[in-house]
Symmetry: C2
Subunit: 244 residues, 2 copies
């Protein structure tokens, strides 16, 4: 079985690092990539700094099949992502006719003036493919293996939903979860034992608290559904036997 | 004015990258650091992989005054953070008497057996300072400038709240926000103009949608409260004049 494609995410925005805004795009992307059989291997949150964006894009695009970015492609002076991603490829991001036409039609239909600031959103590097924005028209773009999308969650989600079917995926990673009101410490040895029997699956243990009691979600992950079911049964019976 | 200390965060956990769990510790940390005058410059989300943890810790601890980690310090086989962070410093994380005593007293008081799995939570590198865990006792630790904390939000938050007053902070970064039901494109030029007049402040623009209308939060950030108030007034009057 060939290994699944890998991906990284870059969340771009001072507002995330200052605590002003809570990012939700990472969580959305992570779930969608898992379902599509692309493994999200790392994510980075960085500020609106040109050189940092360039360095981060170049480090991650060399290492992964796909890089997804969110944030910094609006019309204001602090929206520098498009230009910085282009620069990472040794290109510029100038106003491109196809993107300009999309925006112009949208502005015309709403009676909005096509100011230079608004037309900043038509800056697309030469050779990049536009990513459709069904929410507010201003497009994202794919340049090589880097997919540049908006930070506003509704727009990011709509862009990704349109983009993803066109990307080659792998075997979706599935999971089985066993939720118990028993602490991690109580099940750790049993879990480690069963995990050792299934080297093709990964076993995780995630504690929680509920009404002052400790609980644990045991999660088994892998691509083979029948193996997952088998491991889940094995874990359930090991835990019943182990529960005095 | 001396520059504020800088920090990075490392969120450790396969469950975040698979989309199973939504991280909330980054947002909590970001807000607390801003209030404390420590600048969060970058954050990385990585999986439960020993070498990745080692490499990431070593890259970031050399670059920042503080590194904060969350996740992977529980009792199960997939909790490898303590040992990996120790290895990043060329150390090991063995069961240490002070941490063992804390856990033993807690287990005794609750009639819980001190199994080897549970005692994994007493693995603390030599020379590290314990971070108090008022929720579930098992401590975190500070090793050099790396602060290792739990992933469960309630525990992470309690650990950080105890840790932070002991760290040297800087001048808190304050902000002023102007919320408007006008699109970014409409205010971009005015914003850029006012931003140019105040080089010591940073100006950000964050679009949102509400009931199908576009709105924008304009955020001014800086350490000088009176300068912030002055810039806010200037921005308000520029926008009123600009609004035909």
């Amino acid at each position: 079985m060939a290994a699944n494609p890998t991906a990284a995410m870059i969340v771009i925005g001072d507002e995330i690092l200052s605590g002003r805004t809570r990012d939700s795009n990472l969580h959305f992307l992570a779930g969608k990539l898992t379902d599509h059989g692309i493994g999200l291997v790392e994510a980075r949150v960085i500020g609106d700094d040109r050189q940092t964006i360039i360095d981060t894009v170049n480090a991650l695009r060399a290492r992964h099949d796909h890089v997804f970015t969110s944030g910094g492609i609006g019309p204001t002076h602090d929206d520098i992502t498009a230009e910085a991603v282009a620069a990472a490829f040794g290109l510029t991001a100038d106003i491109r006719d196809d993107a300009r036409a999309l925006l112009q039609a949208y502005f015309d239909s709403r009676g909005i003036e096509a100011t230079p600031a608004r037309m900043r959103m038509a800056r697309i590097p030469e050779g990049a493919a536009l990513i459709d924005n069904p929410v507010s028209v201003a497009p994202g773009f794919s340049l090589g293996n880097v997919h540049v999308m908006a930070g506003v969650p509704r727009v990011f989600e709509a862009m990704l939903t349109g983009l993803l079917p066109g990307l080659v995926g792998g075997v979706p990673v599935r999971s089985r979860t066993l939720r118990m009101l028993r602490g991690e410490g109580e099940v750790a040895d049993i879990l480690a034992g069963v995990a050792g029997e299934y080297p093709d699956l990964s076993f995780g243990s995630y504690p929680f608290q509920q009404d002052g009691r400790f609980g644990t979600n045991l999660v088994i992950r892998g691509t083979d559904e029948s193996l997952l079911d088998q491991a889940l049964s094995r874990l359930e019976s090991a835990l019943s036997v182990g529960a005095a």
